[in-house]
Subunit: 351 residues, 2 copies
């Protein structure tokens, strides 16, 4: 724990106080702070001792000013779901823990027509080194262009490659969804419903493609009546459930493009007295807290979101993170999601 001394005058000690105490120039102290190589072990030790003794902590604002750059990175999100944001954030913080960086979190309202302007104001004011864009706003090309324009680095997180590897961390949604659906097929399901995410979302499109891919491989096609639109909200799951489950020939399994809609669909099944998974198998996507809180627990797809946070930081500011940062594995920046089996999937009735 740092010493409690406040330096002369009872204030925070400054680099000058350290320099005076150590009997060196402030530049030498600065060198120690910034880990310059050209220093005698002896002077370094003397300075470090003085720093310790005074409890000196460099003023980040002063450093930022002198460096003509601050040490902030920003996380921009539109609250896709709270757990995702927080897990990602945790990953970022893991990555920057031993650096001088600090994290600014900024919710943005993608519905607002002032969104771009708001972000611009934010970036101009804070001037972070870089920004990390979480889906769905990561899919907004204008936002990326804005960052570019302002000289703010950026990384976009997505369900698929939506930018080059330097600017994009992505998962393999399509493949994993296909895998999940193949599991359903292996169980013997043939009438499989699909609840889609919102129009215009890349993630929604990816998941649909994965779904259709798996079906096609099995020589099947998605019947129009088994297709339900949606918007990633619980109520959309309800509506989809009401449509799908009152069909004269209802599906024996449904893939929902996220957990929340899966929960909605499941509640409809419950109210109709349809047994899950006995009479209806359900798969979700996200592995949100909801997935384990509903009954039966939902089979779903898990994004390696914390890992993506780490990777995003490493991609955004490798030069601030020390040597370990680049040795982080696959340079393509595609991280694998995994299918999580729980209790909401079983063989269809009569198999």
């Amino acid at each position: 724990m740092a010493a409690q001394n406040k330096g002369p005058g009872g204030k925070q000690p400054t680099i000058n106080d350290v320099a005076a105490l150590a009997g060196v120039s402030k530049k030498t102290v600065s060198r120690v702070i910034n880990r310059s190589e050209f220093l005698t072990d002896k002077t370094r030790a003397a300075v470090e001792k003085a720093i310790e003794q005074l409890g000196f902590v460099p003023n980040p604002q002063a450093r930022a000013l002198a460096f003509r750059r601050n040490f902030l990175i920003a996380l921009l999100h539109d609250n896709p779901n709270a757990q995702t944001v927080l897990n990602f954030q945790r990953g970022v913080l893991d990555a920057i823990k031993d650096s001088d960086l600090a994290l600014l979190v900024r919710p943005v309202d993608r519905g607002s027509d002032k969104m771009l302007e708001d972000v611009r104001t934010f970036l101009e004011k804070q001037r972070p080194i870089g920004a990390m864009l979480l889906p769905p706003i990561s899919e907004n090309d204008d936002l990326a262009a804005l960052c570019e324009d302002l000289g703010v680095r950026y990384v976009r997180i997505g369900s698929a490659r939506i930018d080059d590897a330097k600017h994009c961390i992505s998962s393999n949604d399509r493949e994993v969804v296909a895998e999940a659906v193949r599991g359903l097929l292996a169980f013997g399901h043939r009438r499989i419903g699909f609840v889609r995410g919102p129009v215009g979302f890349r993630s929604a499109a990816e998941r649909e493609e994965g779904f259709r891919e798996a079906l096609a491989q099995a020589g099947l096609e998605l019947a129009a009546e088994l297709y339900a639109p949606g918007n990633y909200r619980y109520t959309a799951g309800i509506e989809a459930g009401e449509a799908l489950l009152s069909l004269s020939a209802p599906p024996t399994a449904v893939f929902c493009s996220n957990d929340e809609m899966a929960a909605g669909l499941m509640s409809v099944a419950h109210s109709k007295g349809i047994k899950v998974p006995g009479e209806l198998s359900i798969i979700g996507f996200d592995d949100s807290p909801t997935a384990t809180h509903i009954w039966p627990a939902l089979s779903t797809v898990r994004w390696p979101i914390r890992e993506m946070g780490i990777r995003a930081a490493q991609t955004l500011v490798p030069d601030f993170l020390g040597p370990g940062a680049k040795a982080a594995g696959d340079e393509s920046n595609v991280l694998a999601s995994t299918f999580v089996e729980r209790q909401s999937v079983a063989a269809p009735p009569g198999r």
Copy 2:
């Protein structure tokens, strides 16, 4: 939208550029930025025009340095649940939107024995004006003392008054829980189970007191067998459910100290074929996303968490938020939680 000019040299325009363009001294520009009263409307207008024209944005680091204070406030949390953190954060951002403040978010690990040291390092490095502590870490007195010690303002969020009104935003957990339980009693429930939160959490104690209070008012007492320990986790709800629902005389209703445990308990009810709410009423606490995602939707208690975020910011930095900040209502800083009725409560069997 701000102009795109980068000033002379292609860089960000500075106060000097503005001064030159407006034909005034930089100090005058500074006065305009800081809304000094002593200015001719004419000069002010001239400066504002120059600012607009150059797209000038004051450098916050330089301001921070000159002011000897930065414009950061920090949100410290231990991820009680993601939605809470994000909603609170949103409230804070609502409150500081038109100010110069920025928000730093910092997860802390209350389990770690280095927790205090970590927070100290963070506060010393960033030197925020103030810190907002979310439960459960808000209950840690050492943390508050640390802030005090470092000259960092603080506000603690809690389920009950855990500090004086200047340092505490609280809700009335006890009362609302009592109200919810009175509702159960009015339905005719007499055997009401209780699932507690973790030992050492003030919120858990408050909720228990509210529960017992309502029972006592009705001349009832909590039977030992109807009391289940817990820790706010889903699995604790499972365990409580297994204990409570296999009693020879099981409860007809259970109050769970949070939604997550309520979800666990509900899943046990489902697996045992116990109908909710027909045979078992359940009440949770938090109004988390889970509450609406499970089936049947959970009656629960909602914290005015976003409002608390607003209030917390207003209490922490009223001097940075303009005149509206203090007119925010009840000076005691106690905000009311509300009981949210959904589908998990009904009359006990046979009534």
